[in-house]
Amino acid sequence: MSVLPFIVTHGANDPAMATLKRSSVLTAIPALTTAVFLIPVILGLIGTWLPAFGYFPAIGLDQLSMTPWEEWFNHPSYKSALLKTLFSGIGASVLSLVITFVLLIGAYPSVMFQRLERLLSPILSVPHAAFAIGLGFLLSPSGWLIRWIEYMTGWFPVPPNWTTFQDPMGVSLIITLALKETPFLLFMSLAVLPSLNVQKTRWLANSMGRSTRFAWYWLLIPQLYQQIKLPFFAVVAFSLTVVDIALIAGPTTPPTLAVLITQLFNDPDLTNRTVGAAGATWLLILVSIALLIIHLLEPPLRRLRQWAIHCRPQTRLTLNWEAPVARALTLLMALAFAGSAAVTFIWSLTLRWRYPDVLPSQFSTLPWSRILNRIDEPFWCTVWLALLSALIALFLVILALENEVRLRWSQKKLNTQRIAWLIYLPLLIPQVAFLFGFQVFLIQTGWDGQFTALLWSHLVFVLPYVFLTLSGPYRNFDDRYFWLALTLKQQRGPAYWHIKFPILMRPILYAFATGFAVSIAQYLPTIFIGAGKYSTITTEAVAMAAGSDRRLMAVMAVWQQSLPLLIFALATLLPALRFRERQSMR
């Protein structure tokens, strides 16, 4: 509660103050919400830093030393792994940002873009690992694509000895990541685009003799970038530190740093845990440096913009290459996702499928029935984890956002930027950098292997995404609806439940579905915190992916994809059904 530096501030005369007393429970919420995801991160970081500096009593190391760091920087694979990580991580982030912009410039607003918008939620709900597996089925030298080419041309009676997937430079990793991250950036952009007045800005620029491209490059994109900067930072951090996708689609000798660190954590030589801890800490530093550099690039770009604005207007007003490229990119993206889903589904129904057949020689439901035998326990564990973590996250996020509304009406300035940074923190810190340490903490408190601890670890990642998806629409809600409801109903409860909640029902359900999907995709937290006592569809799927049976791998991947898809479908259908007679709610 800030005291305004004004002449008159009778506490009791301040209406906001009066409101505050009634909702004092709200004031505790930001602290609670922050604690939910910051405590594990902080404890986990400390628990990782200690071994990184050689303190690891469990294996008799009880003196601080720099040895792990020396060994890390002297690791034979370090230098090359570093280069590959930077190349693939930064490359994928920049590529997805560029694709996002090209799609917007070339297609927004248009009918095609609306179609693309509808594709977004199913695409976003595809778990990373499942998508990477499917893409591998599609692109490898004996994959579906080559089989089709062979079928039509007869060029490849045996698979070509080409490097099309898991190439040493990480190009296939870049493509996989970019395909998965572009929809996320697009989604985040869509939330802010309405406030940018795209059409009016373009019109205005055109009327001043500037091209539409100019309007986008120098007027709209700079504003848009400011709005999606944090999501973009999350993409950078994710691309630099991802483990599961890099395992499936990344280079092998050496792999990226995150994979190398995971290997060190899993090395039979236990002292290598400390080297892994040093590496994980280094990865965190690396991510920070990368983000700092990207941040520092802004002022020069801003100067460039000033220069561009001072330049003489060009006369050509049409876009030439962006529109067709946007169309091609959309098609490519749709094909990649549809293709990987299709080939995964076909594999799940296969008994025998040899190269160069484009379809299995024998179909069978055997893979499904084999998995059905043992899916029961992981299935319900997955569903409960996802449901509960999404519900708790939704509850906390709504309370935090309501608290924000309250603060907005009692404080001059509400630093939403700072809140956003806090929320993004778990997404900016590499998972490998704190999960190990968090596990040690849980064991110390006797909390490991408990369902509640597992739920907590999922919440750390579910909460930020629920906040991200909901905060935009929630903050854009026209407060006047709520005041009106208050003046009409004279009670807060009904005003919220009958007016604000239903109007926001669509984004709320969407945020819930997002949280659900995020929980389902969690692999490392379940492994680290679940202590092996809980298995989810995703841990089963990754266990299958370590095996050789593609058919079972495919069945698990289909399971993994269908759950979030189902929830997203419900999240779309329920409001559509509820408001089927309300045009403006569609």
């Binding site: 469990a58 090359s80 000895n161 050496p254 039979p268 190269y355 024998q362 043992r374 049976d549 593609r550």
Partner: protein, 398 residues
């Protein structure tokens, strides 16, 4: 039959057998085990193995009232768990009660005191283990087992070739190189430190080294550069002829099997002699795949189950480990239609009835006859593993 390169290994093994204790304790253990829940951490990447473990857990539940939960977790993750518990001072009732382990993981757990202690001498079925002819049941990567882990199955490096493309499979490392020259891009091996990759490199080293005894002493005693130079020369020549020109490696045997199935490669390797027959039976490999080994013999070892130091259900874990060593369970495991993992038991220690279980097993078309498989090489001293892996990474992974 077995190349007894190190006479003192056998001498040590006799000493271990002498510590075997009386069976009187066993009934106490069985009583204490009743009602316990055992978390068995074992790799879950193969549904046949998962099915087999499921069967075994059902049986001990029926026979002994012990609940076993199969946690599909690789050994390093389980070690991480135990390590975190030790870091946190949780020395009782840890999350892992029994784990599938061997080699380096075992050596490191032993060195860091993460194991329960000697227990196999108390298990009745341990008496049936073929410790005389299977020295790797007593020396895991040359590290003395000291009754800290119970033998579960035998493994041997074998090669698999697709007869559709390969008529004369290579019988030595040199012939393998010739094969690669004639069929560029059709062979690969997993990148060390993946288990199968390291084993392949060790196999080549054993084949190319003239004075093989040096490999059975600690690496510090040898001139590493000199001894391994032929190996690196060989790999330098082989890699450009491999799948993806040696720029990309697989991460393990399962991926190798997929590549063989897809005809991306014609020649693969496995650690299970029955693997090919098994895979053909369930459609993972074409029926044109056959198994072969090298003339010099191939590296063999044993895989085990071990109890961590902080298990809260050690008795239950012992009962399960004992059941896994029973003739019934071992014969079922050796069936290529079920799993096809060679037994650790000695046929001459079994009753006629028990032996009949093994005699009745089908052999599978792609499996080598036992006399061919008998050609076995022992693992080099454990210290070589790290040195070789590091040198490999320095050369080929940067």
């Amino acid at each position: 039959m077995i190349k007894t390169l190190y006479p003192h290994i056998l001498a040590l093994s006799l000493a271990t057998v002498a510590t075997t204790s009386q069976a009187a304790d066993w009934s106490t253990i069985v009583n204490q085990a009743k009602g316990q829940t055992v978390y068995f951490h074992a790799w879950g990447g193969d549904e046949h193995i998962n099915d087999y473990i499921q069967w075994a857990t059902d049986r001990v539940d029926e026979d002994y009232g012990v609940t076993v939960k199969h946690v599909k977790n690789v050994a390093p993750n389980a070690v991480n768990q135990i390590l975190s518990e030790k870091t946190a001072g949780k020395d009782q009732d840890g999350a892992v009660d029994l784990m599938w382990v061997n080699g380096e993981n075992f050596a490191n757990m032993k060195a860091n005191g993460l194991l329960y202690g000697a227990f196999t001498q108390d298990l009745p079925n341990y008496q049936l283990v073929d410790i005389d002819n299977k020295p790797t049941t007593l020396f895991d990567f040359t590290v003395p087992v000291d009754n800290l882990e119970a033998p579960w199955g035998m493994a041997q490096l074998v090669f698999q070739h697709n007869t559709e493309y390969v008529q004369q499979p290579p019988q030595s490392a040199q012939e393998l190189l010739t094969f690669a020259q004639e069929n560029p891009g059709r062979f690969t091996y997993p990148a060390p430190p993946a288990f199968h990759g390291t084993t392949f490199v060790k196999q080549v080293l054993l084949e190319l080294t003239a004075d093989i005894d040096i490999l059975y002493a600690p690496v510090s005693l040898a001139n590493f550069e000199e001894v391994t130079q032929p190996l690196w020369d060989y790999l330098d020549e082989l890699h450009p002829l491999m799948w993806q020109k040696g720029n990309v490696f697989t991460d393990g045997a399962p991926k190798m099997k997929q590549l063989l199935n897809d005809s991306e490669i014609y020649l693969s390797l496995s650690f299970n002699p029955f693997d090919a027959s098994n895979a053909i039976a369930n459609g993972d490999l074409p029926d044109t795949v056959r198994t072969h080994i090298h003339r010099s013999g191939t590296i063999a070892n044993t895989h085990f189950v071990a109890i961590p130091y902080n298990s809260g259900s050690a008795e239950g874990a012992m009962v399960f480990a004992n059941f896994l060593m029973s003739p019934e369970a071992q014969a079922r495991k050796a069936n290529p239609e079920i799993w096809g993992d060679p037994t650790v038991l000695a046929m001459n220690k079994l009753t006629a009835q028990q032996k009949a279980l093994f005699d009745a097993l089908p052999n599978g078309a792609a499996t080598l006859p036992p006399e061919d498989l008998a050609n076995v090489l022992l693992e080099p001293h454990a210290s070589w593993v790290e040195a070789i892996e590091k040198a490999w990474l320095t050369r080929y992974s940067q």
